[in-house]
Amino acid sequence: MIQDFQINSKEIDKIKEINTAEKKFRIKNLELFKHSGFPNKKLEDWKFSDFKNIIDNNFTKLDYKNESYNIKKIDLLKNFEHNYIILLNGNLHSNNFKYEDKNKIKINSYDKSLNYQKINNPLVFLNHALAVSGYSLEVEENYKFKKVLVVYNFFTKNLKNKVLNNKNKIKINKNSELHIIEYTINESDFKFINNSYENIILEKNSKFRSIYIQKNRSNGFFHKYLKNTISFNSEYSNLIFSSGLKFNKLDIECDLIGENSKCNILSGLFLNKNEHQEIKTRINHLFRNCSSYQKVKNILTTGSKGIFQGKIFVKDIAQKTDAYQLSKALLLHDDAEFNSKPELEIYADNVKCSHGSTSGSLDEDSIHYLMARGLSREDSSKLLIKGFLNDVIEFIKSPSIRKFVESKLEEQINGY
C-alpha cells in the first residue's frame, strides 16, 4: 500500500502571483480533496472506475510539484491547414492563428476567476487546489474561424509519477464559430496523471465542435471534467476518439440554457488490452425546445473495460425537449467488460426522450458472408469493426479531417 500520496500545503504557497481570495479558494479545495482522497467505487459516480484502486495498483509515489518544461520541436500535422495552440504538459506553450483575424481572438494562460459551481468530484477539488496551467481562449462576436484550431496536447518524456493539473476555458461569443481538434501526443515512458478541468461557454447563435484524438498510446492516466454552457440557438458537438490510453474518464456536463440550443456527444472508442475508459455525461435540459443527441460506441478487446454513464435531466419548464441516447458495445473477447448506466430524470410532461443500450460480439453470419467473398477472417472482422464506428466518423463534415480521423482509427484497430 502507498502512504505517500499526501500533498503538502506548501505547494500552494509556491504558486506565484496569487491573491488572498485565490489562496483561500485553493486551500479550501485542498482540504476538500484531503478529506475525500482519490475517488473510489463507493461513490456512485465512480462505481465502475475505482480510481483509488487503479492509482494504488499503478503508482508507489506521486509528485504534485509544478515544474516548467521545455521542448525543442513538435511535428505539426500536415494533413490539413490549421491554426494551433501547443500545450506542454498542460501548460500553454505557444499559439499560431495565422489563418484568422487576430483581433477577434484572445488567448491567455489559464483563467483565474474563482466563481465555479461546486462539483462534488474529488478530482475537481484537486484541480481547483493545484492547477496553474492551461489556456483561456475567447472568440469575439460575429467571427467564424476560417480554419480548424488544433490543440497539440503534448506530454514530455520525463513525467514519472507526475500529477498534472490544468484548467482550460473557451468562450465563443454570439454569432461566432470555432472547430477544434484536441490532438494528444505522448512521449512519456513513465506513468503519470493528467487531471483537467474545462469550461466551454457558447453565447447566442454560436457553434462549437471538438474532436478528441490521440497520436499514439500513452502511459498516462487521464481525467477530464468538462462543463459546457449552451445558449439560445447554439450548438455544441464533441466527438471522442481517445483510444490508446491506459485510463481515461471524461465527465461531461452540458447545460442547455436557451431555446433551440443543441448538444451532440458522440464517441467511437477502440479499447485495447487492459485499457479502461469511461464516458460519463449529464445533459441538463433547462429550457424549452432544446435537443441533445448522444451516441457512444465502444469496441473492447481482451481485458479492457468500457463504461458509459449517461444522464438526461429535464427541468419542469423544459417542454418539447428532444433527447436521444444510444450506447453500443462490441466485445471481441470473453474477458472484456462493458458497463452501461442510462438515466433519465424528467420533470416536464411534453418531451421526447429515448435511450438504448446494446452489447454483443461480432456476428458470425456476417463474418461468413464476408469470408465467402474472399476476405480473411481478420479482414472481415476489421471491416465489421470499421463499419461499426462509421456512423460516428460520418459526423465529421470536412473530408480531409474525416480522412485523418479514419487513418488514426485504422492505426488503433490494427494495433489489436
Binding site: S366, M371, A372, R373, L375, D391
Partner: protein, 251 residues
C-alpha cells in the same frame, strides 16, 4: 498427355449434421466444367445446407468426400474456397452497416486477385469494371454507393449478389434460392447474369423451389433433393414434371 480437367465438383456420400441433427444423409453429385445443375426439393430437404457446406460455413459436422477441381475441400476455410473460385449467392444476403458496397467489393475482388497471383486493381479500373457489369445487367449502380445490403429491397439484395458474381468472375457459382421473392423483371436480370457467364470453363449449381427460373436458365441436369439425398436426376423436363405433380409423387 496433359490431363484434362473433367471434374469441377465431386461429392460422394456427403453427410452433414448440425446440432446433432443429420441434414444431408449421403449425397452424391458430380459437376463438370461447362455444366449447369439445378437442385430442386421441398422445404427442409437440405438444399441450403448443401450450399452452406460447399461454401465452408462453420458449425456442421461433415463426412464423405468433397472435392473441388480434384482437391479435397474439407480443411479449406471459407475465404480460401472463395479465392479458389467458389461463389455462393446467399439466400439471405446479410446487411453490413457502415460498410460501403463499393469498398467492400473492391476489397473482395482484390483479395481474390491477390490469392491468385494477380495484380490488385486500382480504384479507377475497379470502378470501370463495376460500371460495365452493372450496365450489362441493367442494375442501377447507385446502390453500390450505399451501405452493403442495408435498406436494400429483397430484389436489390439478390441483384447485388449476381452483380458480385459477375465482378468476382468465379469458376463455380452456387445460387441459393436467388429467385425466391423476385418479380419477373428481377428474375430476368438474375437469369441474364447467369446466362452471360456460362462458358465451357464455368459451372453452376442453381438451387430453387420453382420451375419458373428454369424457363430462363436452361439446366443441363435437374436433381431432386429429398430428405438429404438426391432421389432423382433428369434433364430440364424433370422440372416441368415436378411443377405439375409436386414432390410427393416422387416419394
Amino acid at each position: 498427355m496433359k490431363e484434362v480437367l473433367v471434374k469441377m465438383l465431386e461429392i460422394k456420400n456427403l453427410k452433414a449434421s448440425i446440432n446433432e441433427k443429420m441434414i444431408l444423409k449421403g449425397l452424391n453429385l458430380n459437376i463438370k466444367p461447362g455444366e449447369l445443375h439445378a437442385i430442386m426439393g421441398p422445404n427442409g430437404s437440405g438444399k441450403s445446407t448443401l450450399a452452406n457446406v460447399l461454401s465452408g460455413k462453420k458449425g456442421y459436422e461433415i463426412s464423405g468426400e468433397l472435392k473441388f477441381k480434384g482437391k479435397n475441400l474439407h480443411k479449406i476455410d471459407v475465404d480460401e474456397r472463395a479465392q479458389k473460385g467458389i461463389f455462393l449467392a446467399f439466400q439471405y444476403p446479410l446487411e453490413i452497416p457502415g460498410v460501403n458496397t463499393n469498398n467492400f467489393l473492391k476489397t473482395s475482388l482484390n483479395s481474390i486477385r491477390k490469392a491468385n497471383g494477380k495484380k490488385e486493381l486500382d480504384s479507377i479500373s475497379f470502378l470501370k469494371l463495376v460500371k460495365e457489369k452493372s450496365k450489362e445487367l441493367g442494375i442501377d449502380e447507385k446502390i453500390l454507393s450505399r451501405q452493403l445490403n442495408v435498406g436494400f429491397s429483397g430484389g436489390e439484395k439478390k441483384k447485388n449478389e449476381i452483380l458480385q458474381m459477375k465482378i468476382l468472375d468465379p469458376k463455380f457459382s452456387i445460387l441459393d434460392e436467388t429467385d425466391s421473392g423476385l418479380d419477373i423483371d428481377a428474375l430476368k436480370i438474375i437469369a441474364k447474369g447467369v446466362n452471360s457467364s456460362r462458358n465451357s470453363e464455368k459451372a453452376f449449381l442453381v438451387i430453387t423451389h420453382y420451375q419458373r427460373l428454369l424457363d430462363y436458365i436452361k439446366p443441363d441436369f435437374v436433381h431432386v433433393l429429398s430428405d438429404g439425398k438426391i432421389i432423382k436426376t433428369g434433364c430440364s423436363e424433370l422440372a416441368e414434371e415436378l411443377e405439375k405433380t409436386g414432390y410427393k409423387q416422387l416419394n
